[in-house]
Amino acid sequence: MRRQLALLDYAVGALGRRAGKSAALGAGLAFVVALFGAALLLTDAIRAEHERLVEEMPDLTVQRLVAGRPALIAESFADELRGLPAVRAVEPRVWGYYFFAALEANVTIVGTERADPALDAALAHGRLPREGAEVAIGEDLADHLGLRVGDAMGIPLDGDIVFSPVVGTFGGGSAIRSADLVVARPAHARRLLDVEEGWATDLAVDLTTEDEARVITRRITERLPGARVLERRLLRRTYELTFDARGGLLAFLLVPALAAFLLLAWERLSGLGDAERREIGILKAIGWATADVLAARVYESLVLSLTGAAVGIALAYAYVFWLGAPGLWGALLGWSNLRPALDLAPALDPLQALSLLGAVVVPFVAVGVVPAWRAATLDPDRAMRGAE
């Protein structure tokens, strides 16, 4: 260990002695890692966002379509579904979009009867609505409207203003939930969304096992022709495919940048300068073994590449989560203008981060070590004299 620390210390000193070259290579590496890292962080954050929501969805969501458009569904149909085997619970849900003129944007209104643990956990302040016109709203929406818990939210309705006491705000790490959500009691949601008693936006079906989803879906469509049944596991897969494909495409487009950098690094490192070759010769002559020279060189490349990669990942993090990934955002999510803005909660798959590090660090170390190995395996005097 002491020997390795001494070699590491020498390697760090060597980087300092070649500060200009080290800085140029480190900066190039940081830039390439930042490009890949940004694509990776953005994809992971969006995927994590959707995964969180998908996990909280019911196993099946039943909608009624009329002329190809979603229409209200009779709550009485829920009783029919409760009789099916493998169906554990059916809940009629009232939700919908409400155009908020003050924001020039839609907000999502959800009516909820029961105490939803996921919603409860997502509360940043206050509580869920219990009565009347109480609402709990997303933090971003609250910020945009200048509201806090205890204030009343004025909602224009049929030429009048409905005042809804804000009893809670959502944060809780989910950007989608903290952005535009308004949770209300079912009766209040029906009033805001103009949904009559006995009708629901859709039916949430929980199964005893998700494996039965395909069978139950078929039975539902037999009983309610024209029904659209959304299976959670298919949605999950769709999201995965969508963002894996987009993230993969983005990463693929960046491969030439990585290749160009490695070529540049090869160009810089493979032609060991006379001074470096001479230094290796000196080290050999004063008793360093080839393995010592190579270990020092590996440490040198590792320190440089890990530092560059760490800076690159930090830059990518700042670019995605602080600056909002201008440029990349549209490539992954489309160019629609959403308000309130969707600020992503930081998320990174450690395995993918390690893969990124491996894809950059391993070739970088290799291109640094190979020419050093060629010089270090020469007799010391030949290395010092500049023999290839």
């Binding site: 002491r2 000196i282 002559a285 008793g287 360093w288 080839t290 010092m384």
Partner: protein, 224 residues
């Protein structure tokens, strides 16, 4: 006891299509604790022979034994370990790393051992003081004069307390007075038990009365 024994030593280099025989069959035995000077003109093979005697260069033919150990066919890491433990080199072009400080240069041979222990560091500082460089230990090696670099290189060669010290053209960068001082220092080391082989084309050094043995080399061979 012999510090170095060479038998039938040959070293050939490929120079394009041409093969150059830098050392052409040298038999040599160097007694421990002696100061030996190897004299000869440039290109006579002195430096190559020095490298062979110090296990820095692998011979094409023949054998070399250092302190009784045949090093001819040792693998790279064994040769390196042997050099580190028993042999100190001072090169013709001094071979300090200019961007490093003088003390760092002197401590460099100790890095593969795990760096300098406190007593080794103290020894390095003492060596620099002995060679008149105590005040320069934190200076960049590139800022030293030729004579100072020569002395720093000797201090580096001695930091591992080797039994054998090999020097290539040790007076090349020195004026007459400094060259005399260097011979004094080498004699003192010899008197402490170090075996010293110095290759030079400086006839003054070869003829110095304090030298135990002077050898002459021509065209890769020792002149009888």
């Amino acid at each position: 006891m012999s510090a170095i024994v060479a038998a039938g030593l040959v070293k050939r280099y490929a120079d394009g299509a041409r093969r150059v025989e830098a050392v052409a069959g040298v038999d040599l035995e160097i007694a421990a604790g002696t100061l030996v000077v190897l004299e000869g003109p440039s290109g006579s093979g002195k430096t190559t022979l020095l490298g062979l005697l110090g296990a820095m260069i692998a011979p094409t033919a023949g054998s070399v034994a250092i302190l009784g150990e045949d090093v001819t066919h040792l693998r790279d890491h064994h040769r390196a370990a042997l050099r580190r433990a028993h042999v100190g080199f001072v090169f013709q072009d001094l071979s300090l790393i200019g961007a490093m400080r003088v003390l760092e240069n002197v401590l460099l041979p100790l890095v593969p051992r795990g760096g300098a222990r406190p007593d080794e560091r103290a020894r390095a500082i003492a060596l620099l003081e002995r060679f008149g460089l105590g005040g320069e230990r934190d200076a960049r090696a590139s800022r030293l004069s030729g004579g100072q670099r020569q002395r720093a290189a000797i201090a580096r060669a001695l930091v591992t307390a080797p039994e054998i010290l090999l020097l290539d053209e040790p007076t090349a960068h020195l004026d007459g007075a400094n060259a005399g001082g260097l011979v004094d220092a080498l004699c003192a080391l010899r008197d402490e038990g170090t075996t010293i082989v110095a290759a030079t084309h400086d006839a003054r050094l070869a003829r110095d009365a304090r030298v135990d043995r002077a050898l002459t080399m021509r065209d890769g061979a020792l002149v009888p």
